[in-house]
């Protein structure tokens, strides 16, 4: 479904990604793990078009992502839940969700999708008229995921969705990821919470200093000694 080939990317003179290749198949859940500053967020941004790579190719279901204008990339079916949520703080929850369904394709199904999201997060229904910026961290994370789901994407990019969330909610988030998968959605997820994420994804990549260091089935990764030592604190 999504395929990256030797992607280089960076900021100004600083290069953050070095020849990253990666693929995600339809219906799969794939994790990207790695230490702080490895370039995980950068990778997500490159995929969703927030920054353009310096070299390499990215295709989504055969379509060339790099040739698509950045605001049309959502229409390819890629939805990105950015790091730190990035809600519109002075819009209500409902307006935030509305923004998620901005694309003409999505507008037609707005009511349906809204029900879907409210089903998933009843808390959001309670707070639909609250300014997003005044909600707690966990509530905001729900809203951010909800917003991404509003566009009815095929591929969901999640950047550290569990950061700052209560343990039950972390579990819920991962449960959610499972459910979303079960609903046929493909997921690419970046996480610090390695132990948990490896339980929900099928495969994972290990990113270090901007390069893919390892990849494989999550069970293999879990078993890998070096990974265990470095990231699982065991």
């Amino acid at each position: 479904m999504l395929e990256l080939k030797s992607v280089d990317a960076g900021y100004g003179t600083f290069q953050a990604l070095f020849g990253v290749s990666l693929d995600v198949k339809a219906g799969e859940a794939v994790g990207v793990i790695g230490p702080n500053g490895a370039g995980k967020t950068t990778l997500m941004r490159v995929i969703s078009g927030l920054i353009r790579p310096r070299a390499g190719t990215i295709t989504m279901e055969g379509a060339d992502v790099l040739k698509t204008p950045e605001h049309r990339i959502v229409s390819l079916g890629i939805a990105h839940v950015p790091e730190n949520r990035r809600l519109f703080p002075r819009l209500t929850v409902e307006d935030n969700l509305k923004m998620g369904a901005f694309m003409p394709e999505a507008r037609a199904h707005f009511a349906e999708r809204l029900d879907f999201v409210f089903d998933l997060f009843p808390r959001m229904k309670e707070r639909r008229h609250q300014m997003a910026g005044t909600m707690s961290g966990g509530e905001q994370q729900m809203c951010a995921i909800g917003r991404a789901l509003m566009s009815d994407p095929k591929l969901l990019l999640l950047d550290e969705p569990s950061a700052g969330l209560a343990p039950v909610v972390v579990q819920q988030v991962f449960e959610l990821v499972k459910r979303i998968r079960a609903g046929g959605l493909t997921v690419l997820i970046v996480e610090q919470n390695v132990q948990q994420v490896l339980k929900v994804v099928d495969r994972a990549y290990l990113l270090e200093a901007g390069s893919i260091r390892a990849s494989g089935k999550s069970s293999e990764m879990l078993a890998d000694d070096s990974i265990r030592q470095a990231y699982l604190g065991v």
Partner: protein, 251 residues
Amino acid sequence: MLEVEGLVKRFGGFTAVNQVSFKVDRGEILGLIGPNGSGKSTIFNMLSGTFQPSAGSIKFAGAEISGLAPHRIINRGIGRTFQIPRPFHRLTMFENVALAGYFGQGKHSRVKAEEAAERALGMVGLPTDRTAAVDGLGAAGLKKLELAKALATGPKLLLADESLGGLDETEMDQAADMLRKIRDELGITIIWVEHIMGVLMRVVDRVMVLDHGEKISEGLPSEVSNDPRVIEVYLGTDADATQAAAAEARR
């Protein structure tokens, strides 16, 4: 050292913190946990003077402090970190901390401030050279800087809001050790808000649990992590927490 009675905070019609009372003893590390939106940061904001409480009293070292301006509270010895780090990008790292040393202690002595800055930076393991910029710091560095700023104000009580969020496992362990060291070596009392149970439960002496702005449980980590209500609203089936609590119980 800190006595909180019937603390309430309302936002419009919404009550974020409802009749919370608790005490913190000198030299203690109190863990403050609770689901997202349960009012933890709001309590911190009231303790540090950023928000005015809607009702209730806060006594620190015997004196009422609720309603004081933030800088006065800091000067009396309550330091805080922010959940999302808020460094001053226009100042160097050293200046960030020296600022806190200068104004936070209420002493307004430049020499003392710079000493305090060096000590605080050393404590958290950041470089003490004067030119290093903030912008080069990663997530972990920013959390450390946040902590160093709070330490430089010379607090007797430290409010640490999610010092671990966004860190990887090794960094988390380091940070937890650091909090312990701060308590042990500097004798600073700490209230710590955190969602990473595995680490928190290992470090704290006592835990208080909030839900919907109300205190629902309080006690030793082992007690709290076995409290069915806490498990229901917060911990879920968090294996780490249970493990850690078990370890604690053994000790």
